[in-house]
């Protein structure tokens, strides 16, 4: 149902709280839905919540669900450092936490920290981008949100690849807040300063789509755009040739694994796996775009 995020039909094993950033972003929505489905199939009821990047709200939500007596929490956190105390709070009150997507800088508090291999995924995208550009030309980087560690990691990985090519010049770099309209307007402005760019490399999906909207309006269909995330919108853009490459983050998989490990921990007292695990990002181009749906690869 759309109205109620809670589902108590099948909760013999208790309830799991699923806490993500914002449900109006397709990535987080996919994560939350996959986790919910998996948890229900394992016999838990679920409570899906969002903190909208507000660390204080995240803290309050965690204390609330702990008081409510949930069995465990699957958390895509609101800011790595600022989430440590909330996770520790849950642990101290006997509620295990599985972190997905974003890590925290301390070990041993969360039972698992599952994140995407941003470095690998970003490097692959960057390589593909370089190849297409023929190792030379002018490009623009639009970062998603430099206050977010994942975003910083992606940008660094981009540069580790791109900076090796002396003929490849970055002519502008701006932060677009991870948002569609911001990206479009910033791209509009940059295009004025640099009408002759050959490529744009973007820190996340919405930013790439915003850049595409701007380029389309300016009639610059030949500029190569690369992004990261792999939302359905991006996939559509790849199919129609507007977006050249992206990396699909396995949101569904990471969420499902997170729930299974939480379940295993609840049953056996251990996940049986190392705390930090990385999930490969899958490079998507026109060739394999068909295989992607809702941040899941392979089945259609």
């Amino acid at each position: 149902s759309t109205a109620s995020a809670a589902d108590n039909n099948d909760g013999q094993k208790g309830q799991i709280a699923i806490l993500v950033n914002s449900l109006d972003n397709p990535y987080y929505a996919a994560e939350a839905k996959a986790a919910k489905r998996k948890a229900q199939s394992l016999g838990y009821s679920t409570l899906v919540l969002s903190h909208n990047e507000d660390v204080n709200r995240q803290h309050q939500l965690i204390t609330s669900v702990v008081a409510k007596g949930v069995e465990g929490i699957v958390l895509d956190n609101a800011g790595s450092q600022a989430s440590v105390s909330a996770v520790r709070y849950a642990k101290q009150h006997g509620v295990p936490v599985v972190l997905i997507n974003r890590e925290i800088p301390e070990d041993g508090i969360a039972i698992a920290q599952l994140s995407h291999n941003n470095v690998q995924a970003a490097s692959q995208v960057a390589h593909k981008f370089v190849q297409k550009l023929g190792e030379k030309g002018k490009y623009v980087e639009l970062t998603c949100n430099l206050a977010d560690n994942n975003c910083v990691a992606r940008s660094k990985a981009f540069h580790r690849v791109l900076d090796q090519y002396p003929d490849l010049k970055m002519v502008a770099r701006q932060d677009a807040n991870g948002a569609l309209l911001d990206a479009k307007e910033i791209m509009d402005s940059i295009l004025q300063e640099h009408p002759d760019i050959d490529g744009v490399i973007c820190g996340n999906g919405p930013v790439a789509l915003g850049a595409i909207a701007s380029l389309q309006n300016a009639g610059k269909d030949d500029v190569i755009v690369a992004g990261m995330d792999g939302s359905n919108e991006e996939i559509e853009a790849i199919k129609s040739g507007k977006l050249y490459a992206t990396a699909m983050l396995q949101a569904q998989k990471i969420a499902r694994v997170g729930v299974s490990e939480l379940d295993k921990y609840l049953r056996t007292g251990s996940t049986g796996r190392p705390e930090r695990q990385l999930f490969r990002g899958i490079l998507i181009t026109k060739d394999n775009a068909d295989k992607v749906h809702d941040f899941s690869y392979g089945k259609k």
């Binding site: 701006q174 402005s189 300063e193």
Partner: protein, 350 residues
């Protein structure tokens, strides 16, 4: 000795100086625009190209159109905090109408693009009307009524597609409801459609504000509401109209943004109300009502937009942009206060 001779200016140096100074203050928003343009033209390459000016004009439309509706509201000593949410909701409504259609029994009705636009504008108008009804008939203070609506309408926008976007709003060839993108990205005579819409709305609003009884009433209500009531003006109906018009402007912005991004996102327009208010204040409209112009606000929106774009082009960080923005807002009002004081002084000294 008749009064008219008494009103003859004294030809002292001091009086002339304050007159010149007053003129400068009155024209300050134009000077500010000019200053911003010159500054970025000098410091930033390719700022002053036709192309960039056209692009900037496109960006101005968003806050320009919002500021037109907001100006009328503020002229009337009101405030409308709900416009940002209406922008988001209107976009979602348009997306829904184009991609999902209206289910009627077993059938689904798809409207043509012009009808979608009209219906979306009507939706904005009705939401504005609800604001107006809360304010006039239930006596809720405008700040609270529109704050409440800010939440309600944003929630509704999010609920409309369970938080997801409506994307690739190309319409369906077979249903002949394509062509929605023209609204945001098309050009007429080389100038973008949104710019034409802004120009049209600006002209319309100027005529409305300056030439019609309705406009006069808006100024009168903002200048002295109790005197307006005593003068037998239809105060409630004027208020209803103005809030509805503000909702209408917000809906148009929602349509334009959606059309430009090819996607309706439910969070679009978040906090735009604050920037629209800032543009209005920058343009010299008093928050207390009764004093201000449409053109001032539109130019205020230009200054804010160009400042923004210019800062982006010259690579000033986001964080500094916020600080500068805040200072500009406060400074604008401080200067306005100085102008008011000087106006009085000049009036007394003649």
């Amino acid at each position: 000795m008749s009064l008219s001779t008494k009103l003859m200016p004294q030809n002292s140096r001091a009086a002339t100086t304050s007159r010149v100074f007053l003129l400068i203050l009155r024209l300050r928003i134009f000077l500010a625009l000019f200053a911003v343009l010159v500054y970025f033209a000098v410091t930033t390459d390719r700022f002053l190209t036709i192309n960039n000016l056209l692009i900037m004009a496109q960006h101005i439309t968003i806050f320009g159109i919002l500021s037109i509706g907001m100006t009328l509201v503020i002229l009337m000593a009101g405030i409308d905090l709900s416009v940002g949410s209406i922008v988001g909701f209107a976009g979602m409504a348009a997306g829904y109408l184009i991609m999902e259609g209206i289910p009627i029994g077993d059938h689904v009705l798809f409207l043509s693009v012009p009808s979608v636009i009209v219906v979306t504008c009507l939706i904005g108008l009705v939401i504005g009307l609800v604001n107006g009804l809360l304010i006039t008939y239930l006596n809720v203070a405008p700040f609270i009524a529109t704050l409440g609506m800010l939440y309600v309408i944003r929630g509704a926008a999010l609920l409309s597609n369970d938080g997801s976007t409506f994307s690739s709003l190309a319409g369906y060839e077979e249903l002949t409801n394509t062509g929605f993108f023209f609204l945001g990205t098309g050009t007429v005579l080389g100038i973008g459609t949104p710019v034409w819409i802004l120009a049209g709305l600006t002209g319309l609003a100027i005529v409305l504000a300056q030439k019609t009884p309705l406009g006069r009433y808006i100024y009168a209500i903002g200048g002295n509401e109790s005197a307006a009531v005593f003068s037998g003006l239809p105060v409630r109906r004027v208020k209803l109209f103005v809030y509805a018009f503000s909702g209408f402007c917000a809906a148009i912005v929602g349509l334009i943004v959606t059309s430009q991004l090819h996607t309706a996102h439910p969070m679009t327009g978040d906090t735009y109300e604050l920037r629209a208010i800032a543009a209005v204040v920058l343009g010299g409209t008093a928050l207390a009502g009764g004093r201000g112009t449409i053109i001032g606000s539109v130019i205020g929106a230009c200054v804010i937009s160009i400042l923004n774009d210019g800062m982006v082009m010259s690579g000033i960080s986001n964080f500094w942009q916020m600080v500068i923005m805040g200072m500009v807002i406060i400074f604008a009002v401080v200067v306005d206060q100085a102008q008011q004081r000087l106006e009085k002084r000049v009036l007394v000294s003649i």
